[in-house]
């Protein structure tokens, strides 16, 4: 039983200086701050569950998403078919899982395309004064383009040739990914450009340039790593946007063809069967919403975590 004296001595005694303190990297700092954002953590967990489910689900869950069995048509949820069946008797859970693969793949791939384009243009625009003006005008131009109408038109025009060259699935995938990517880079470009303009004036950049570092290396080693913050936030929002755009396209009948059960396509197919089996649209609709929600929360969390003002709290 410690005496009061001992306890006071314990508290007052000088603590030895902790040399060899664990070195905290930026990554760890960011992660710690991220974890404090409850929504972001929940989002991350949900997204992980959905991604795992779409990757492993079709392997684990027995029913074949393409098997037609008209006797089982239009059934509501049951043990065998947790989401029910569609009008041809196909299991909707299986279709949602395999459709999720396509939807998520499109989401991530389109985001990468948009991110790459946006970052490249933003960095070049911010770093090279002479290219800034024209590139920003091009960005303004793309911002003024009516995206969805052009998307619809391009898909209508190029669906057949791509189908012929790459086969149906890959052709449409490339088309949709490229189109969404090519029309969603503008925001990233603007934000990155702003950041690059600021970083360019920093002393460490001037130092690097003064010792003769080539421009290419300055960009790759110094500028880009410091623009990670807006880039990562853009990435998160880009996935959300891409998933919604793809599902909207499928809903308008202009995305993937009928045989590919992407989430948007499932909502489109099931829209008249609300009376018979509401799960047909509720399940994929909820999946889209939850995925987008999770990604948005994650983006929020990243933004908060990378904000130095918040981190120092």
């Amino acid at each position: 039983m410690a005496t009061t004296q001992e306890r006071v001595e314990e508290l007052v005694a000088p603590q030895p200086m902790q040399t060899g303190t664990k070195h905290r990297t930026l990554g760890e700092d960011v992660w710690r701050q991220f974890k404090r954002h409850k929504g972001a953590v929940v989002g991350l967990v949900l997204l992980a569950i959905i991604v795992l489910a779409t990757l492993l689900g079709p392997i684990v869950w027995p029913p074949d998403p393409y098997l037609i069995d008209t006797i089982q048509a239009n059934q509501g949820p049951s043990i065998d078919h947790p989401f029910g069946t569609d009008n041809l008797g196909r299991d909707l859970l299986a279709r949602s899982l395999i459709g999720g693969r396509i939807s998520l793949a499109v989401g991530f791939a389109a985001m990468l395309v948009g991110l790459f384009l946006g970052t490249a243009i933003g960095v070049v625009s911010g770093f090279f004064r002479r290219l800034d003006g024209p590139l920003m005008r091009v960005t303004d131009l793309f911002l003024a383009l009516p995206i969805l109408p052009l998307l619809l038109v391009v898909i209508m025009l190029f669906r057949e040739p791509l189908k012929a060259s790459f086969g149906e699935e890959l052709g449409i995938f490339l088309l949709v990914v490229f189109i969404i990517g090519a029309t969603s880079w503008m925001q990233t470009a603007r934000v990155v450009r702003g950041d690059v303009l600021a970083i360019k004036e920093e002393e460490f950049v001037l130092a690097a340039q003064s010792i003769g570092t080539r421009k290419r290396n300055v960009i790759m080693r110094h500028i880009i790593p410091n623009t990670m913050s807006p880039v990562m936030v853009s990435a998160a929002l880009g996935v959300a946007g891409a998933i919604i755009t793809e599902s909207a396209l499928s809903f308008l009948g202009l995305g993937f063809p009928a045989s590919f059960p992407t989430w948007g396509r499932l909502v489109f197919d099931g829209r008249n069967y609300l009376n018979l089996n509401p799960m047909w649209i509720l399940a994929p609709g909820a999946l889209i919403s939850i995925t987008v929600l999770s990604v948005n929360f994650i983006g929020d969390g990243i933004r908060d975590a990378l904000d130095p003002k918040l981190r120092s709290r």
Partner: protein, 337 residues
Amino acid sequence: MGRYVIRRTLFAIPTLVVISLIIYGILDLAPGDPAGQLPLTIPAEVRENIRESLGLNDPFMVKWLKWMRLMFINEPLNAIDSIFGTCIGDCEARDRIISWSSRAPAIDIIMQRLPQTLWVLGLAFIIGIFIAIPIGVFSAYKQYSLFDNVGSVVTMIGFSLPTFFTGLLAIYFFSVYLGWFPSLYDTTLVVNSWDTAVQQIKQMIMPVSVLSLFNAAVLSRFTRASVLDNLNEDYVRTARSKGLGERTVVMTHVMRNSLIPVVTLIALQVPGIFAGAIITEQIFRINGIGALLITAIGQSDVPMVQTLTFIFAVLIVLFNLLADVTYGVLDPRIRYD
């Protein structure tokens, strides 16, 4: 101020020209062909003649310039003539852009349907703003309160749910199940009495709500972020220490500064709003220009698609311009750029 406006307006024109080139170029590749709907017994040479007479075989630049002339000179002249009752030049035989499926001037059809779209979009936009800004300001003011947290989650859900999903659910619930609102949009309804006004409100409630909730969700988040940034600024502390009431501090000082980035954002959102309109019109069967675009694409009616896409671009550029001007009004620093 005036010079700023003129400069921005002048810049819009070359933008539109380049956009028209892009649109026209893409659509020129379209396989649609008005001669394709004629009976098979018509010999190939006659089909060719018909195509010639429609100018389909001219080289690309010729076709584009012709279309530019129609779009930028003939159509505005026609509009002036019909509004003011004048007759400029050869007003009877003036060439116009003709739709292939209805063989009527494309602009006339678009103008018939534009009000529907603008009404629904405009109302959704305005309602969205009026919901979003108070919520955003209040959430930022009472940061981390229950209101803020609940508001955050609700707005997040609001812009994560795709509009086609919420629209479908709304129709099913309110039209089919409850029977409160009509599922058919009556485009010939003329509002000239209390009853017809009620009817118009009833048929607009669902599409406007779906769109405005989405807009409000996006806007309120940005308003909140912007207000938060400003609440921590020094001038707010100064204002408070001068003894100004909270209301004045927030409404007069903070709001003005916070709205500036929000306005830019509203401008950036405009293309997305038109996209939302296309989907909403499909679901609610509003015969606006979004639904017209989908129909025209399905019928391979290339002149109509070209004109419509260009009109969308014009609207977007116009709203960008308005946003820039408003931005200039709100932020004195920009004007002296």
